[in-house]
Amino acid sequence: MAETFQSLLHGFSIALTPFNILWGLIGVILGTFIGVLPGVGPALTVAMLLPLTVKLDPTGALIMFAGIYYGAMYGGSTTTILLNTPGESASIATALEGNLMAKNGRAGPALATSAIGSFVAGTIATLLVTMLAPLVIEVALKFGPAEYFALMVFAFTTVSAVIGSSTVRGLTSLFLGLLLGIIGIDSQTGRSRFAFGVPELLDGIDVVVLAVGLFAVGEALYVAAYSSRLEEKIEQLKGSLWMSKRDWQRSWPAWLRATAIGFPFGSIPAGGAEIPTFLSYATERRLTKYPHEFGKGAIEGVAGPEAANNASVTGALVPLLTLGIPTSATAAILLSAFQNYGIQPGPLLFQSQSDLVWGLIASLYIGNVLLLILNLPLVGIWVKVLAIPRPLLYGGILVFSTLGAYSLHQSVVDLVILYVFGLLGFVMRRWNIPVAPAVIGLILGPLAETQFRRALAISQGDLSVFVTQPIAASVLAVSAILLVVPLFFKQARRD
């Protein structure tokens, strides 16, 4: 514990250098600004802003990314409350009560409880990450390829089959991602797979191109086709921004309960902030002293889900940093940012790049403070961003997001692939196939394949290695149960 504290102090000494504070500040502001834009979720925000960091040193770049990651979530909450268009599934619970509060002229307290709740949950969760990460590493250092493979299968199962409305559609999305991950040169043998002689495909498909295609191009095509001719209604920011004494009394227990719900969901590779936000909403609804207010704009219904979202997103940094396993589309893009610098997150990262990791963790604390300071006074500016007319907004989104995909390799082929992914995203969105599993499958698939083949190389091709090693076997067993049991439940419910 003392050692962790030492490392964290060292991290602060890195994060608090003027340049790194500046990168953090720029990240927080850009993240909030882009995150506020309707139709832009955190995953797209991170993907769009990736090219800005190409020339930075890794520590500065990742500190900026941490700021973007958090800023995008804060910004998304503002949009959700004032516009009732949740940018991602984790914001749906907030939208339920938050928009109703705004309609009743209580937008100020709704935004305040969401910002302060995010700060409280984010800070507690960062503290937990700080304490938990060294412990996970102790265990992870003992993991071999079989254990890693099992954990990745577990992550695949949770992000595709457990979350979402349909197991089969989640798995379909995952397998599309896995297929895209196969394209290119096989890292073990150097053979090209499914590249069809296109040299640009030999390097594989970049996760940023897929994310921008699905989240920006697909989304723009969808919104243009199905809701560009609708009137938008922005709730005005009327009355006081401040929360009354009663608002505080109702908010803080919700923040703490939500942190306790959200963090575990993020930190075991159980992916996604969607389940904890709904769990928190349901909990607050059951415990509230003002049940009649639910469905009309109850402050607990905003405070809880927002805090749960933040705690879970922060918790997701534990598997990302210590095991290299992303559990959300946003974390998948962060992983690709690491990989762009030739850094593979995992237990060894804490030893080989301890400056970078602890600087990053320290910058999370700083980022949370910056966001709290920025968001409450500046919320008026973010509200103005919301008023940008739709035609110009989507024009801008496509200009910036295609730039993000193009500047990776300055390749027209990437732009063609981008449009194909856009069409794919349109179809998936229209017919209710989740897109996040595809993004995670693309980045995690090749890593899982490598671990699988390493495990078999060690065991001389004996497949029983996955069932005789206790950790790998139990993780695989839990994955199988998670995959199969809900199917029976669903069947039973129908009968």
Binding site: P51, L52, V54, K55, S165, S166, V168, R169, L171, T172, L176, L178, L179, I182, D186, Q188, T189, R191, R193, F194, V217, A220, V223, A224, A225, Y226, S227, S228, R229, L230, P389, P391, L392, Y394, G395, G396, L398, V399, F400, T402, L403, S407, Q410, V412, L415, V416, Y419, V427, R430, W431, N432, I433, G445, E449, F452, R453, R454, L456, Q460, G461
Partner: protein
């Protein structure tokens, strides 16, 4: 109840994709060294998965429709019917960008993309949109080339933009 054509099409597409991957996998050699699994193991798993998922989707589509799916009519989600013009304008913008970016350069390609997308979203002020798109693209170009040292194609504007860009 009749199966929905879109669900049938997507289910079949997943199935056909799985079969195609399976065929492609047989073209990859299987030498795997010590691991005894070569570069074709993962594609084989993915092919099998896609075929099974395609069959599963097809079964759902034929037995009352995909489970827990959104309603088929956009109106039920508070949306309007498919607007072909909007969809096409956004597509035209992206095609124009693909064709223009290495010829006319980044700034002009992005300006045209911006104006086409705005048109798709119902804007009728094409000159204004082009001007805004041009301003944004120019600012981004200069920021990337001068400040971030990332090269972007200058294209037809090279005489004006000077040596900046490639």
């Amino acid at each position: 109840m009749k199966a929905k054509p879109a669900e049938l099409t997507i289910s079949l597409a997943v199935l056909v994709l799985g079969i195609a991957v399976a065929v492609g996998t047989t073209q990859l050699s299987g030498a795997g060294g010590y691991a005894r699994v070569g570069p074709n193991a993962a594609p084989a798993v993915v092919a099998a998965g896609l075929v099974l998922l395609g069959l599963w989707l097809l079964y759902e589509a034929l037995s009352g429709g995909w489970r827990n799916s959104s309603p088929d009519e956009p109106e039920a989600l508070g949306e309007h019917p498919f607007h072909l013009g909007a969809f096409l304008w956004v597509s035209v913008g992206l095609f124009a960008q693909i064709l223009l970016i290495h010829r006319a350069g980044f700034v002009l390609a992005q300006a045209v993309l911006f104006a086409c997308v705005a048109r798709g979203f119902g804007s009728t002020r094409i000159a204004r949109d082009l001007a805004i798109g041009l301003a944004i693209a120019l600012a981004v170009f200069l920021f990337f080339v001068k400040f971030l040292n990332v090269n972007l194609p200058a294209g037809w504007l090279r005489p004006i933009l000077g040596s900046a860009g490639i």
